[in-house]
């Protein structure tokens, strides 16, 4: 790639050690070739992008994560926030790599030999609601009061029913969520619980897992899924780049 048109900007995916060997044939947003911009011991993973291009389409999000996950499989990487675009390669070296060099080196050192796994757990909605009704007499009463009545006639009772159900689900989430964390944390170097919503939400949590712990972690996740079977579904994503574990330090 020797395109150097002046209206090309630089899309930056992440930061890696300059010694990293990029996986072959890797393309990024708009199928542009991926390359490294190097400054000292650090390098940025970049591809060119039109200066008037707005990012945020489905394909852009997928390209961003596909590049970072592929790079992560080859070595430590600090993922940048989606949509990071700089004006030129020299700006990448002068304004990002050089000033941040020491800090990036430290972060990469911590991330080396680790990758992220993300666990999404969703309740089987009818099952967990059945539990809630069976376990709470007031909910069961309100349910039979409102069930086959007109909405207007039972408005207040419905609001109260919904409020109780929501709180009962929250209580279940707390219990089931912490037992999942207890089961998986012994095999992880860190975790980040995501805020999320939805009636069937149980927990979404990202784990940073040492390569040598990966088998044990995956086995524990499998075990947790088996234990929750019938009550909840467990989805495991990864290994991916450590998106959740590059919190900027406030300094």
């Amino acid at each position: 790639m020797t395109v150097t048109a002046s209206d090309d900007f630089c899309y930056v995916y992440g930061i890696v050690p300059a010694s990293l060997e990029l996986p072959g044939n890797l393309t990024g947003l708009d199928d542009q070739a991926i390359s490294l911009v190097t400054a000292g011991k650090m390098a940025a993973v970049v591809s060119r992008i039109d200066s008037d291009r707005t990012v945020g389409r489905r394909a852009d999000l997928i390209s961003h994560s596909r590049v970072l996950d592929a790079v992560a499989a080859a070595g430590a990487v600090i993922p940048l926030r989606f949509g990071s675009i700089l004006q030129s390669q020299s700006e990448v070296s002068e304004q990002v790599l050089e000033p941040g060099s020491e800090r990036f080196e430290e972060m990469l050192h911590e991330l080396a030999g680790r990758s992220q796994f993300t666990v999404h757990v969703r309740y089987e909605e009818s099952q967990v609601l059945a539990e809630v009704v069976a376990e709470n007499a007031e909910i069961a009463d309100l349910r039979s009061q409102t069930r086959d009545q007109s909405e207007d006639a039972t408005y207040d009772a419905r609001v109260r029913l919904g409020e109780l159900v929501m709180h009962a689900l929250e209580a279940k989430r707390t219990i089931d969520g912490s037992s999942l964390l207890d089961a998986l944390l012994p095999f992880a170097a860190g975790c980040n619980v995501h805020a999320s919503a939805g009636m069937d939400h149980l927990i979404d949590v990202a784990f940073l897992v040492e390569d040598k712990q990966r088998d044990a972690f995956e086995a524990a996740a499998d075990q947790a899924a088996a234990e929750l079977a019938g009550r909840a579904r467990v989805k495991l994503l990864g290994p991916t780049a450590p998106y959740d574990f590059v919190e900027p330090r406030s300094d």
Partner: protein, 142 residues
């Protein structure tokens, strides 16, 4: 239920491991994540950040309560058809209820992003169901 025999790399079959990840998974994984550098020329997002934020908020509003009540009332428990709770539990464990239990409230994200993951770019109209209504309703109630 099949219980896998012990051995190398055995799997219970219950853990879902999608690959490649769907758009919804990718959105969850990368949005609001990653290192922020402070020299951006621009961070040009088509409203996607707002979408995920919307999807993550559960507002304790009358609307929300009514949705929970509706889902609870929709359950087929003892009264109808004489099935008792153990029956329901068994049915769910056999996976029979799976198809119909999705979708009661599968999350704002699915509604916003559309269910078809393969579908290409929805031309800058990803916000099909903004959470505005719930917010507006709450304000009125306060």
């Amino acid at each position: 239920m099949t219980v896998a025999a012990t051995g190398q790399r055995r799997s219970s079959g219950y853990l879902e491991r999608p690959a490649p990840s769907s758009l919804a998974d990718v959105v969850d994984t990368i949005l609001d994540k990653g290192l922020v550098i402070d020299v951006y020329v621009r961070v040009s997002l088509v409203g996607i950040e707002l979408i995920t934020i919307d999807a993550r908020i559960v507002i304790a509003s009358v609307d929300t309560y009514l949705r929970f009540a509706e889902a609870t009332n929709r359950l087929d428990l003892y009264e109808k058809g004489g099935e008792d709770l153990p029956g329901v539990i068994e049915r769910v464990q056999q996976g029979g209820a799976r198809g119909k239990t999705r979708g009661v409230l599968s999350g704002a994200k699915e509604a916003l992003l559309g269910r078809d993951e393969e579908e290409e770019e929805p031309e800058e109209r990803p916000r099909r169901r903004p959470a505005k209504k719930a917010v507006a309703r709450r304000r009125r109630d306060e």
